[in-house]
Symmetry: C2
Subunit: 244 residues, 2 copies
């Protein structure tokens, strides 16, 4: 099980202007975060400080800071004297994540309908085009990109809503949702997801916040309905298995 994680992580994904000379731990966090939500790093994967450190050419101190941040947002779990692991959310956690989204996202939609500009709409259409493109491709890479793009739709919405606190909450919820889908997802989430995104956007464009919010709730319901949250209930064996 001494599989190296190096090939799973894209070390040069920082964009030029993102290249602020500061906070390398932030960049590492971002890189690991992307790897996790892209499902290149599976739940349960161990992220040792020294390994992460040497991968990014920093000391354990910096790597540790990045892992702490990820632990704070629930993407990794740290066990004392054992290390950090990509989170393995339980079905109960999954339910709570979606319950939270059902609560927050309609509010975000309601805020977004007040502030969205034609430029935003155009940007959304571009994004939805991306989504569709990946949807029609085959292969695991396209599948990952599709899931990422699907999440980005929700994050763009939060950004348009203009509440940075809710935006941060959504960052966390979308990232953790991605983990949950990786673990419990049954089918391609997006065949339904994509059309629902366009429906929400259409309602927003017409200024119909009520309808957009309703559509968003249904959308979240559909995502959660595609999950299989029953099986792993009683065992706990699976936990140990994926942690090993």
């Amino acid at each position: 099980m001494a599989m190296n994680i190096s090939e799973k992580i894209n070390l040069t994904e920082t964009t030029p202007e993102d290249r602020s000379p500061e906070d390398r731990s932030m960049a590492i966090r971002e890189s690991l975060r992307n790897a996790i939500i892209d499902r290149r790093l599976a739940p349960g994967t161990k992220l040792s400080e020294s390994e992460v450190g040497s991968l990014f050419d920093v000391s354990r101190t910096v790597a540790r800071a990045a892992l702490q941040m990820l632990a704070f947002e629930g993407l990794v779990k740290t066990e004392r004297n054992r290390g950090a692991f990509v989170s393995n959310p339980s079905p109960e956690e999954a339910r709570q994540i979606f319950a939270s989204r059902r609560l927050i996202e309609p509010g975000i939609v309601a805020a977004a309908v007040e502030r969205i500009t034609p430029e935003d709409i155009a940007e959304f259409r571009r994004q939805l085009g991306e989504e569709e493109r990946y949807m029609n491709e085959r292969g695991p890479a396209a599948r990952r990109a599709e899931i990422k793009a699907s999440g980005d739709f929700h994050l763009m919405l939060a950004s348009v809503a203009g509440n940075v606190i809710l935006q941060r909450f959504m960052d966390e919820l979308v990232a953790r949702s991605s983990l949950v889908i990786a673990l419990y997802g049954r089918s391609g989430v997006s065949s339904c997801g994509h059309s629902e995104h366009t429906a929400v956007l259409d309602a927003l464009e017409k200024g119909d916040g009520e309808r957009a919010a309703k559509l968003m709730i249904h959308h979240i319901d559909h995502i959660e309905a595609d999950l299989d949250l029953q099986v792993k209930q009683g065992l706990g064996l699976k936990d140990a298995l994926s942690l090993a």
Copy 2:
């Protein structure tokens, strides 16, 4: 301005069973957190790594970890190569905090009404008694305790709701609200706040979630209405001033 912060922090407030032999940074975070939401540490106060470290008899490493956590939940702001400071939320941030609460807390109430037990109710009544007691006392200490108790009501509600993710969001929102009230509060928040808490609890006891949620929204509106979010708008000077 070289005032020592040591007298502002209660170093021995960890309860015996909280004395897990691990994660001292967590204990430090908790201690600082309480000091901030109790307003013993004013917004803008500098929290240097070495000072915090020596106060709690740990190295800068663990002090730094505690400050990072606080920065993550928005209670302190760190500036590169300058240090960490107790956050100084802007009026805009304040509005976003309360907007978020208006969105989340009705949902928490709705979840709580389904799960609340008679034991919970009794516990709430005890808590409200505390609140009233502090309300009738005079002096800054009682005032602080009153604000703390008022926030605890909301946190207990989140706990009863049974969604740990929302609970964590509320932890953050209530803590930051305390900062906002410290900065922009006009009067005693609680003379109205207390009775509103009891009203919410009464509705919950009767199982009337609709009414409880409405009452909660009004309650949040009242808290925000008590703030003076206008004055500091145009300047930006004040910001620099309070950071110095």
